[in-house]
Amino acid sequence: MSYDRPHRGGGGNRRRNNRDDYDDRRRDVYESPAEKLKTAIIKLGEVDALEELPRLEKQIRETTPLVISNLSEAFRIAVTEQPFKIPYYAALLRRLHDPAEEASTVDGPSLGKQILEDFWKGFQAYLDKLAWRETRSCIHFFAHLTVAKLITTESMFALLQSFTAVLEEFGVSHGRAKKAAVCAAEGLMIGGPILKPSSGEHVQEIISAIQAYNDTVTSPKWLIGPLLKMYSDEVSSSTADELLDTVLQALRTLNESDFAETASSFSQPYASHADPDLTEFTPFELPSVLVPPEVIELDGLSTDSGEDAQVKKEEWPEYFFRLFDNDITPDPKTPAGYAVHTGILDILDIFEVNRKECARLLLEYPKWTIPGTFKPKPGGTTVPEPVAGKDWQLESTIIENVLGAYFVLPEASHKSIYYIGVITELCKLSPSTVGPAVGKSIRKLYGTLGEGLDVEVARRFAEWFAVHMSNFGFQWVWKEWIPDLSLAVQHPKRAFMRRALEFEIRLSYHDRILKTLPPEMQAPEGNTIGEQAPGPDFEYDDPAKPHHDSAQGVLNLFRGRAKAEDVISHLETLKATLETSDDGGLVNADVLIRSIAIQSLLHIGSRSFSHLLNAIERYLPLLRSIASGGASSLGGGGNAEAKADILTASAAFWKHNRHMVAIVFDKLMQYQIVDPTDVVAWTFINRAEIRELSEATGPLSLSAFEWDLLKGALDKANGRVMIARRKVVALRKEDDDTRARDKASGGADGNAMDVDAEVKPDEAPAVDSPALTTALKAFASLTREQKGALSRTLDGFVSCLAPGASDSNPNPHSRVVISEEGWNDRAGWAKDQWNAWETWGWYRQFCRAYAPYLRNYSTTLWTVSFAKFEGSTDPAADLLKKTWNIATGQE
């Protein structure tokens, strides 16, 4: 009768009380001898890999019966899921290539070679399904085996060349090219010491192929650098490194010294082993492969105006933010630095399924690196000689790389909360060493605010900060930022403080967070945190306010759970009264009625999220009636206006609580009271009416809060198309299956009728099932809505950033902040300049993050929003178009 499960082995009715740190997910399973051997291989190096190698070799050789496929599977799992151990698996396989001591009479290939041959089949399978991560790990393994002379250099070259061949494919996607280039480059980095002596020419060909490809991807880099100057095409390379740039630079450095640095960058535990006796041993010849083409899933769905509705997540170059100097954390442009950088990122990616294990493995990472790579742990027993140019700080290196992956634009590979969670676990495992690294990273990042840190990176920074602090007692030394209170109120540093505190409050509560601040920041003039908890504000609460009595009447109906239709007729009566009252001519009765109704409804739903849902659900007919303009005499004509009024009333009610505004808007969209396009339009236009809500009041501009509203609306529109697409695909398959079944059962009939007939009956146009017809209709409506929402957003940005002379409330600074002189004057920028700059930032994020959707509609959207700039020399128009063109792949 409870959530508590019986105590295991405790017997009877005893219940477990302290269940929360109890993890019983691991279930004991019986392990067969084959399983045991597999586990032993996978667990190699729990204590000391080098010492364990001979023992493990012996255990393998002594197992009977020895099943090769079981062994090669163990190697495949080990290599692809623990790439940091690959050099040791190469060493193990090297040992298994030696003839067994006792049974040297047995002819045929060595155990090691049999395993390698079978391992190859697994690699081929990974490649066939384009499992890039696994493919890449296998290439590392093969490269080490080539250095250990178990694989021929010719066949290794051929393997790497089949990956560089991808780079020359016509119209290759960046994602595919990037992965292929990395495979080839890393194989060469590891195998270089033996590959170069065999053919310097091939080495050069591989490097040149990657270089040639990388030279073609310059313009996208401008759009995704984490630290930017709007006026310049360059991305500052001192603060961020692009993946392929680092790959190439590390590779070139290695090549210049004929790969002498490979041995100090990648472990080679097999190096001490004598070379195989080539009189008796034939190295393995890797069979030739072809990287299969990408499978493009064509569901043939297009929008009703014929655009392709496929969403191809475009893959961008990857910039990794650098926080520390090269003597603290490795520079990924150097061979040893690249090896560490990619080694950490691999762990972060692979162990996404278990962030706790991920954190443990990250802290254990030095164990797999060449001694001296990281500073020794304080109090460690053996202190290795520091290696010149290395001796890095482990924790700073880990945090820099985790944050680097988290800040990748336009979006990280995993959800924000994953990276945040890994850092939390790292801090829990080793608070005294990771804590300071986190603190330093925060200060470093904070220092780049106002120096061009991308707005989306700044938003993620605030999110991380708040969630991190919520896990560690909200202990941050805020007083060190007190001097920054003298900066302009919209300066990115001050915006960051406000945003981080707002996020903290969402996770906690106002008084708790207020307590953590020094008096200067608590003070209202500090403009950092609200004085009051962010509660609702029912406009008609005060009896002295106009329409208090009318609102009380409506409120009482809601409180008494009156029927929706009774409320509707009450509102109509009320409206008539208002119109005929003394001040009837002064107010727009429709607007007022909507405001009273919506605010009163939200008032009864203000106690909690569930109360809100209950209130909305109980009064859906009322809400629909208001949204359709039904409560007014205008009939159905006032839809857009009525929906904007609903949003305005909601935002006014929650003007002190942006979180609730976003929640209410989301559910109003979910219940189809308003559409995403309404929210987009409202965000650009009406939002400015509520002063308290927005940081970006004054001239038309957007701050992070407005961006969140836009994103909420766009994601809703896109998500609905996604659901509708899935539904159509599923129903179509169902239809096809039904047809196939009918055909099969009616087949005998059909054949008997007329085999020679020119038109077979089953080739007649297929009739869709009613369910499919409905689904297709929904899909058409939703793609229309999607296009509308995207178009409205683009249009909104264009009017914010390149306002025409006739536009209302233009920001006069939108053109200044993107010029070099303007940017260099930023010390003197006030609120409006920073607002304009931030709006540009959100425009960039809009273009790059929604590029996969925008591409489908790029022609129409261009015409709608940019045609008017034909022949214009407006710098704002130029930057708008340039950003758009890069995002949609036209530049």
Partner: protein
Amino acid sequence: MASNLEFLLGPKLPPAETSGFTVRSMAHVVTPLDQPSNYKDSQLRSLDRHTQNDLLAKSTTLYIGNLSFYTTEEQIYELFTKCASPEDGGGIKRIIMGLDRNTRTPCGFCFVEYYTHAEALASMRYVSGTKLDERIIRCDLDMGYKEGRQFGRGKSGGQVRDEHRQDYDPGRGGWGAQAQRLEIERRREVEERYADAQDGPGAVAGGGGDWKEADTSANESRLKRGRSPEDEGDTRLGQRSRLDEDGDAERM
């Protein structure tokens, strides 16, 4: 043998377009955190383990435990939104706060329901075991909210675990002696918040279902026939039946 085969062939990957997630079989080296626990709802004893597993494999609902009695739905919403995938048709559908049967005050657990299964799994991986309101919370895949489950099942009305708890826990009603000012203020709000909580069918909102094509027939007929007085009634009737439909869809 089955797992061997799966390893060789690889897990069935969902088409890249339809899912933001890449499913990976990674159980060899570490145990993924998104496995359901062994909890078996005592009120659903009739369901065999197999059926339960099937339900959990599609579940969009999480049970959240070890909450402070003072934690609000909005705090929960904020944290769990971080696992939502709205661009994939997801989001937080609803939150059902666990209440003491007698006092109608939060008693330290809740259900979070998403629109998609992947989001529930993401919460298991990323949020379970982290802090909310300065307590380490625990998530478990749940078979889905059923009427009445929002109430504690302990003798005193709260959760059973609090019947047996012997430690002092300020966040779960153990605040008496060393009451803090903040806690008292929060307590006052919390005691009032759910005083109106109902039980029985329809007491808990659904959160909004899938997008539906608007039924334009009522509007159209209304437009066509102009301003006839009966129209208002028609429209309302039409709308009410739509509401009922929504309610039923959620209730099943």
